[in-house]
């Protein structure tokens, strides 16, 4: 039997327009990096060795797990039973976990950025680091915004502001957060691993 599909993606459609635009914008940075590398492969490979792959790895695990927590929060609201207060409390806890992880990502990235500046490496050092700082700092801004959005969702969820019939705002914020995760999933191997 054919399963009936939803006509539109979850959340407000406006957030999906933003998601599509963001994906296209970041693809410019990804492809700019990949094709610029062809101009000086040795420089890119040598510069890449100056990055700490462990930080990129930990941040990938953090974002994936944070995204997972957000999915659990949305599912908790969607499958809410008679005890609405308990479901809202559980969903709020999942969101609080994802906010904590978002904060951890930002702290690790700040440590990485300040470490590089302390070593005298910045946007103007070479083409590799120009792309590194541009793409990761731009992504950092998205994580920061996403964490603020999650905090607002947490506040509303905590007071029982979402129900199975009305949780468009929650799904919109969740979709944005998953986009941030998706972008990092491409960024991590590209900048830190592939050589």
């Amino acid at each position: 039997m054919k399963t009936l599909k939803n006509q539109y993606p979850p959340g407000d459609f406006a957030v999906w327009i933003i998601i599509y635009v963001e994906l296209i914008t970041f693809s410019g940075l990804f492809l700019g990096y990949a094709f610029s590398r062809r101009g000086d492969i040795e420089l890119f490979n040598a510069s890449q060795l100056l990055l700490d792959q462990r930080m990129g790895f930990i941040n990938t695990l953090i974002l994936i797990t944070s995204s997972y927590f957000v999915v659990k929060a949305v599912h908790t609201i969607k499958s809410m039973g008679a005890d609405k207060e308990e479901a809202s409390r559980k969903a709020a806890l999942w969101l609080l976990g994802s906010i904590g992880l978002g904060g951890m990502f930002l702290v690790i990235k700040m440590i990485e950025f300040t470490g590089k500046y302390a070593e005298g490496i910045n946007l103007s050092t070479n083409t590799f680091f120009m792309f590194y700082f541009l793409s990761t700092a731009f992504h950092f801004c998205h994580v920061l915004l996403g964490t603020i959005v999650l905090f607002n969702l947490y506040q509303k969820t905590k007071i029982g502001g979402y129900t199975p019939a009305d949780h468009v705002g929650l799904e919109s914020g969740a979709s944005y957060w998953h986009m941030v995760d998706l972008l990092w999933i491409v960024l991590f191997p590209l900048i830190y691993i592939i050589r």
């Binding site: 939803n6 993606p9 994906l23 492809l31 999915v71 986009m179 691993i193």
Partner: protein, 83 residues
């Protein structure tokens, strides 16, 4: 164990695999292809199960999939095309 938890475990597994390839300096030309393929799989899992687009009509589901496919393919071209 629910589907979402299994997806999360798969994503963590792919991430550990990618990190180990890099950490152990095993990224050869074939390694680049494997890494890009697993990156596509990871992205598709996020699109389908975290974003929930596997429950949405195909026309909306394929937009991020096409984006991911084009980006990964062009990155592969940039790495594999002779300089």
């Amino acid at each position: 164990m629910d589907v979402i938890t299994r997806i999360w475990i798969a994503l963590v597994g792919f991430t550990i695999f990618a990190f180990l390839l890099g950490w152990l300096k095993l990224v050869s030309l074939i390694g680049v292809g494997i890494l890009l393929f697993t990156t596509f799989l990871k992205g598709q899992l996020v699109i389908d199960y975290f974003m929930g687009l596997n429950e949405v009509e195909l026309k909306y589901r394929v937009i991020p999939t096409i984006w991911l496919g084009i980006v990964i393919s062009l990155i592969a071209v940039a790495y594999y095309l002779p300089v």
